[in-house]
Symmetry: C3
Subunit: 215 residues, 3 copies
């Protein structure tokens, strides 16, 4: 516990990033747990879906980067979050559902955070810009994709309004800002902000990307 | 063959563990092959599903641990087992189906064995207790999950009576026993025994975990 | 660009292999994009499916070999190909569909190429023959499997006429030829040729593997 408290007491920006990461993981875990409840799964199914939704994107990113074991398995707090989320949803499902707007805003925040974090990690591992954007997007939408595959649905991220697109554009904006010598924290804020705003606009205006011409 | 016979002639406990591992792999492979027959797949589909069901859980565990290439690809006997199982089921499907009770008991044994083996391997790779329990459970139920995803079904392990739960509780009991300084072989026997009994009781009493309150 | 042109200007056989690899990736990407259009996905869904179909098999192979980050993420041209394919299909879908026979022939060529490339890479990583055949087959059919899982379908590779089988037999023929001391380039040509011909024959004669006896 002493050791864990030390980890929490990091310097300013790192602490902020860590807190944001935990918050994003929790939001995604709650969404995964709610999807499991909708799918009539039992308690362990709820834990499994919460786990896959919250940590799946980062796991796939770390596997592709060869950064193994993945970050999510090195710190006990990451796997603990989905368990907390599953128990919360298990007992409080009907109350959580009463605040869908809050969940959508938090989800957009989680999406932005994961896209930025994935892009940064890919760059630290010397991936080129195209791959970094791709891995940022995978970090953001990978967990939801695994959740939908397990629930036997076509992944929503492949269909709904400006979801993966928001992550991709946010990640690209961050790299473009870095190219223009914007400091890394400001570039991350720009990329995350663009992703968040695009997603909120997408929900609000029911934006959809076009499908193939002639379909 | 000389080399292979040397491997079989290991000292007592190791030899037992290896024999048990091969037996568990064979049972899971047979179940995967039977699921493929139910899904109207052809011979190669049967081999693929036997392979994924028998080795998928261990492959995912080893990928997450960064223990690559996975154990299942380092010894030719592991990939050979699903081929044998597929051929067996291909020719003897109707006879195998005549003994469902035997298959359920063997499946519970395979579940227990894989949960214990996965937990032990995770601990050897310095994973913390929570992650070790998780990886033990993934080893036990990962193959069946991949099988069901390929067959376009919601994974049964997320739904049926005390399946993933048995693996999880068995794994946790083993770690608790180790914490209480029980010798490692005895702790493994305790964990495996708890998993096996829970699963058999689950089948016998049609136990199910509760779903979310208010659903 | 200068650097890229240098890469293209490799010596004879390497250059041929690289060109063939790029061609195979492009064909698979186009097929993935067309499947996404059929599934009514939007532009980013088309890119994602093109990416998974074209690069998924190689990614799974490299993950299992522990050859991380995967080859497909080390060279920007590999992830660029699915984007090009998605844009092509997005605008020209109806024209591409007008030439199904050409696509089937190109697909058979891609299958043969990927089976050979996967087997060679597995052998370079000291995998035994059985595992090398398996990884060759995974390279060839893994991308299509991921595509079908994301589209919520039972993978076609587990069902259609002599598809995974052609990859498996081609890979085995290549290893058998090497065992008989055929030079590596000739062995690759034999393996790839067998795979290609089997697949074309499979389409032409509507060959199917048998299902379990008594079904």
């Amino acid at each position: 516990m002493a050791n864990s408290r030390q980890l929490w007491a990091k310097s300013g920006p790192d602490r902020l990033l860590f807190a944001a990461d935990i918050a994003g993981t929790l939001v995604f875990a709650i969404e995964g747990a709610m999807a499991a409840v909708n799918g009539k799964l039992d308690l362990i199914g709820i834990v499994v879906l919460a786990f896959c939704t919250a940590l799946g994107g980062g796991l796939v990113r770390d596997i592709l980067l060869g950064a193994l074991p993945p970050a999510a398995l090195r710190d006990w707090r990451y796997p603990a979050i989905p368990i907390v989320a599953a128990v919360l949803v298990f007992f409080l499902d009907r109350y959580v559902r009463a605040i869908p707007a809050a969940i959508q805003v938090l989800d957009a925040a989680g999406l932005a955070l994961f896209a930025v974090a994935g892009t940064v990690k890919a760059r630290l591992h010397k991936m080129n810009a195209l791959v970094a954007i791709m891995l940022g997007t995978i970090t953001a939408v990978g967990g939801g994709t695994i959740r939908d595959v397990l629930l036997n649905q076509i992944p929503n991220v492949l269909r709904i309004e400006v979801y993966a697109t928001a992550a991709l554009v946010g990640s690209a904006c961050m790299l473009a800002a870095r190219k223009l010598r914007v400091p890394s924290n400001a570039a991350a804020a720009i990329g995350g902000g663009v992703c968040f705003l695009l997603r909120i606009l997408g929900i609000w205006r029911h934006w959809n990307l076009p499908r193939a011409l002639g379909q």
